[in-house]
Amino acid sequence: MPTFVYMTRCDGCGYCVDICPSDIMHIDPTTRRAYNIEPSMCWECYSCVKACPHHAIDARGYADFAPLGHSVRVDRDEERGTIAWKIKFRDGREKEFLSPITTKPWGKHIPKLAEVSGPSKEMRDSQLLFNEPKYIRMDDGGLHTLESNGLKMKEGVYY
């Protein structure tokens, strides 16, 4: 369902232009508002719909297989950490869904690795990654190796 933009709601802020993964939301030079310049490269990913502060962007199912008269609207609320969906069928039925999008305040619990204590030489010479081995099993267990798991690599047709 390629996206389209309602003329009266768009103020040309460009949030959609900034976020679109496919580079297809552009500002129309005459109206100074956003529009989808290449619907056949639209994945209906809703990145622009979610980013629009005015709910000016909507999607209409692909013309080659989707009948008209439906809508899927979304409200993504970063502060509350939720996403709300409202589906309207062609025959008028409606469905609503609400899901969490995060369990923590944005970015607060992601470590800045420049500031953690760096790896020891022993750690560098091992196969371990940051936070390992602890985070593999959340206990004191070590990293799996061929030896620890009683395995070897053998060439040919062996299963």
Partner: protein, 622 residues
């Protein structure tokens, strides 16, 4: 249009493409290189880029060793049988032994993972999949990458890698252009981690017109992982192993949660179970080692995805379509109904839109399934990509040359779709591969392997002229005609893409020929590919957006040529249901229980093909 040259110098780790692989690489690189210069170059906006831009409703690769669920070697055996034996088991084992630590960090960062209320463990969708509320999966991992990187360059389309001129076959950085400003960007770097995407849209899609964008894999997955690596002369592997997906018709909504969690199942147009009746014939084609329904039933060994496709394709071709997903039973349970819808809203909104548009309520009717056009990628149920070194403590000598996830070009690493032979990595596994590549890249620098790199101004200026040529070509020739898109000397990126897709479809086993090809067809197709390559010199770009499409197309072309070469080389039908070599309709373990490896000479464009041994993980006493 002026194209200023902007040079970012003295980079230690350059990450090209910031999807799940690239964000993992940038994040981890900071730990091993706290004083190193880490730069990300991303074609779109890191907050919503890559295959996970729209979100995910499941993490498909999680061992659960913490809950005593699986060991890494269990996952290797699963990926092995699903891919008919053709995987890099060293890389798979390595990914699987680390992947849980990535997932546990995601949870700590705020990604909502569902829990099983009875056991307290993560809610399983299937043996390897856990269920998440992943709408913001990408913004969350992007935040981690941004915290680690010195700088993120958004909207840079990287077109080529730079090569060292003091030592052959060593990488020196990358170049590209800003799709907004038109500036030319030069990144001089000691190491490069290519974490760009696999290839959608190289085969003609089932849909037409607007719907051409409703592809299974993202339309912005332009095969740049392969285009960049192939141009640099890196060896590639398993590029013949394209994937075909059985999905909900037209919307390509995912079926994993439906099969595994909702326990829906398929039937033909007559309401009959159809898969098993194709298995006896199929078993004669591939052998009992690969298809043994009784053993699968007994041991829960999966039936390979391609073979299940084979049954679907043949049932439809026998006139007993359409294939339906039986949802009417599961959807009577309101909780399961909610899961079914949220599954789409979380990762394939378009399927929800389509059902709304067509008044399909799966509670009241069973939706249709179909098989997609083929895709070339390396992180879902297939393993196309670069031939990379594995880890020292696992890999046999043929698979090891010093640094984990390093390609055959020195200092050039891969992650996610870029790495060959590692299917079933999915999002978490791709992130993990990025982490592994980052650690190895830092070690490569610390070992002094990146000293004395030299890049001449000539190399930089030559690439600049090459990159902007489609804009110039358009400007020079456009006034030759009055108006319109028909031109004797200009090919638009869209026109060239249509030509590529038609050619791949008809000669390389696309959907309109029921995934069939043979040596004759492949040879004709390869001739046409060469002529298309000549015509790509006449690609015209009216603006920077079209210049982006032009370079995406060139990467798709390079990917496609590689697919042709590999498909021709492997003289057997290894994956019925993904594609068929009509001239050799059998799996041939005697000659082809090997991985295919190619190299395209960057100077001449000539391909060389070789077989590499296939190693399997077995018990020490076997």
């Amino acid at each position: 249009m002026a194209h200023d040259t902007i040079v970012e110098d003295n980079i230690d780790v350059l990450v090209v493409g910031a999807g799940l692989g690239g964000t993992g690489a940038a994040f981890e690189a900071r730990y091993w290189g706290q004083d190193k210069k880490i730069i990300i170059a991303e074609k779109a906006n890191i907050d919503r880029s890559g295959a996970v831009a729209q979100g995910l409703y499941a993490i498909n690769c999680y061992m659960g060793t913490r809950w005593g669920e699986n060991n890494p070697e269990d996952h290797v055996r699963y990926a092995r049988i699903d891919l008919m034996g053709m995987v890099r088991e060293d890389l798979l084992f390595d990914m699987a032994r680390h992947v849980d630590s990535a997932v546990h960090q995601f949870e700590e960062w705020g990604l909502p993972l569902m829990r099983n209320p009875k056991t307290g463990a993560y809610q399983r969708e299937g043996r390897w999949q856990i269920m998440i509320h992943g709408e913001s999966y990408k913004p969350i991992v992007a935040e981690a990458a941004k915290k680690s990187a010195d700088k993120v360059y958004n909207r840079i389309c990287v077109t080529h890698l730079l090569m060292d001129e003091s030592k052959e076959n060593r990488v020196a950085g990358a170049v590209g252009f800003n799709v907004r400003t038109g500036n030319y960007h030069v990144f001089k770097s000691k190491t490069v981690i290519v974490a760009a995407g696999g290839a959608s849209m190289i085969f003609k899609p089932r849909s037409v017109g607007e719907g051409a964008g409703r592809v299974w894999y993202a339309p912005w997955s332009s095969g740049s992982a392969y285009g960049l690596l192939i141009q640099a002369g890196a060896k590639m592997t398993q590029m013949e192993n394209r994937i075909v997906l059985a999905r909900f018709k037209d919307g390509y909504g995912p079926v994993g949660a439906y099969f595994l969690h909702l326990k829906t199942y398929t039937q033909n147009g007559l309401g009959e179970e159809y898969e098993s009746k194709w298995f006896p014939e199929l078993q004669k084609m591939v052998g009992k080692e690969y298809l043994d329904p009784e053993a699968s039933h007994r041991t829960h060994r999966p039936i390979p995805t391609c073979l299940r496709n084979h049954a679907l394709i043949n049932e439809v071709n026998a006139g007993r379509g359409p294939i339906h997903m039986v949802t009417m039973e599961a959807f009577q349970d309101p909780h399961l109904e909610e899961v079914g819808w949220e599954n789409f809203l979380g990762m394939t909104v378009g399927q929800a839109v389509l059902w709304a548009a067509t008044d399909v309520d799966p509670k009241n009717e069973n939706p249709e399934l179909t098989t997609s056009e083929p895709y070339v990628m390396g992180s879902h149920a297939t393993g196309c990509g670069a031939w990379c070194s594995g880890p020292e403590d696992v890999s046999p000598p043929e698979y090891f040359w010093g640094y984990n996830r390093m390609t055959t070009v020195e200092g050039l690493f891969g992650a996610g779709d870029a790495v060959g032979g590692t299917p079933h990595a999915f999002s978490s596994g791709s992130f993990t591969e990025g982490r592994l590549a980052a650690k190895a890249a830092c070690k490569y620098i610390d070992d002094g392997k990146a000293q004395g790199i030299r890049v001449s101004d000539k190399q930089i200026e030559d690439r600049k002229a090459e990159i902007f040529k489609p804009l110039e070509h358009y400007t020079v020739y456009r006034n030759e005609v009055v108006a319109g898109t028909v031109h004797p000397n200009i090919l638009s990126p869209r026109q060239a893409l249509d030509r590529l897709q038609k050619l791949m479809d008809e000669y390389c086993g696309g959907v309109t020929v029921s995934y069939m090809t043979n040596e004759k067809l492949l040879n004709i197709g390869m001739k046409k590919m060469k002529i298309l390559e000549e015509d790509l010199d006449k690609l015209g770009a009216a603006d920077l957006h079209e210049l982006l499409r032009a370079w995406e197309l060139k990467h798709r072309w390079l990917t496609s040529e590689s697919v042709f070469q590999h498909t021709l080389f492997r003289k057997e039908t290894r994956w019925p249901g993904y594609y068929y070599r009509g001239d050799v309709m059998k799996l041939d373990d005697e000659n082809w229980h090997v991985l295919t490896v190619s190299r395209r000479d960057p100077k001449t464009g000539e391909y060389t093909m070789e077989k590499a041994p296939c190693y399997h993980l077995v018990g020490t006493d076997e």
